[in-house]
């Protein structure tokens, strides 16, 4: 599979007549990592949502390239993983069902049972794999979100507040995902944690 590159050109976002940010540009090729930081309300989440194609920019554009061809965000949705507090899972399904359902909506290849089992063990919720997500604590839900976001080995992994709700053991799991992503492709992180800011080779301060 061709490597993915992302380029943001002069992004601006207005919201209810208020300009959240403007003039944001960056380029992410193979093995590049970006950290977005800034105080509360500065638009960190807004910016990463625009990168993930969840929100359109008021001005400017985000361009995606595989190899030398320009592609639209809709062509590469199955190559993105995104973990954040505002991307929820289905409460009425258990962990395995969530991974299967969300993967099959994302792409035609559904992960095997053993791959799911391995992933759930890695994030540390294998013991509760068959309980409904409704019964999970917020930390367990966060761990399951990592499992959903990483099971298809995404070329672009986006983390908004990566260690929210997680204990030290969970944070270690996150760091392992981050290292793996740095090997594989593009990492985008929105955070205010000084330790996490150091993950970025490019840093955008809003």
């Amino acid at each position: 599979m061709m490597t993915l590159a992302v380029q943001a050109k002069n992004l601006q976002k207005d919201f209810n007549r208020r300009t959240i940010f403007k003039g944001i540009s960056f380029e992410l090729g193979e093995q590049r990592s970006l950290v977005v930081t800034g105080k509360n309300g500065s638009g960190k989440s807004t910016l990463v949502k625009i990168v993930a194609g969840l929100l359109s920019a008021t001005k400017g554009s985000v361009e995606y390239r595989t190899g030398n061809t320009n592609v639209s965000i809709d062509d590469i949705r199955d190559r993105i993983g995104f973990v954040s507090p505002y991307l929820n899972l289905y409460d009425e399904f258990d962990a395995v069902e969530n991974i299967k359902v969300l993967s099959s909506i994302r792409s035609s290849s559904v992960p095997t049972d053993s791959a799911i089992q391995t992933m759930l063990e890695r994030v540390g919720i294998a013991a509760r794999a068959r309980n409904l997500v409704r019964t999970y604590s917020s930390g367990m839900k966060q761990r399951l979100k990592y499992a959903v976001a990483a099971i298809h080995k995404p070329d672009l992994l986006i983390l908004d507040e990566p260690t929210a709700n997680l204990d030290e053991e969970g944070a270690a799991v996150v760091r392992s995902f981050v290292r793996e992503q740095e090997e594989r492709g593009i990492l985008v992180v929105a955070t205010n944690d000084p330790a996490e800011i150091r993950w970025g080779k490019i840093i955008v301060r809003l």
């Binding site: 207005d14 919201f15 209810n16 007549r17 208020r18 359109s56 008021t58």
Partner: protein
Amino acid sequence: MKIVRAGVIILITVAIVLGVSIPMVPKPQSFFEYPIIPGLEEKARNIFFHVPVAWTTVVAFLVSLWYGYRYLRTRDIQYDLKSSASAELGFVFCFLATITGALWAKFNWGSFWNWDPRETSIFVLLLIYGAYFALRSAIDVEETRARLSAVYSILAGLTVPFFIFALPRLVGGLHPGSAGDASGQTPVAQLHMRGLMLLNFFLSMIGFNLLFVWLLNLRVRIARLEYHHSLQSM
């Protein structure tokens, strides 16, 4: 816009004066006489007001729809100001068309309201405007409001052919030109009107459309001022 304003004042004044004052006689000889139309008599003068107002309603709806579409393509909030301003004016004209129509219907057909296809259509248009404003007031974020209300008005616009083509099958029509009408003709579409009457009708038609253009311009300028004022106060 000064020319438009002058046009509005002159045309509508002339249309009203001519419309009200020219005598109606059974056998018009001079240019300055209207024919008496059997069954309509003096009530026929309403054609100078009811039809242009109803026509302007449709124009306003189409203008609102067009600017809604422009907003969706460009995401420029200016188009939303124009779209909603046009809808507001369209609502006023729609209301006037309904009132003038209901009065005319009462004295010519015998009842204020009969669910004739065109009466049904204008009632639904009133409902569409109502729903449009209800939707706008239920969304806080300006961009979302602009986007969703534009989509709604386009979706509502898609039903228009059904009101034109499908509805007359289901309910009988009383308006001239309705399906099943013996003559099958309308005074407006085929211009079956005599000299001055026709002229007056067109003066009124242009006058009311210009009135819409002028009011829309005023409304959009007010909306722009409010917009910039709110930007400054932030």
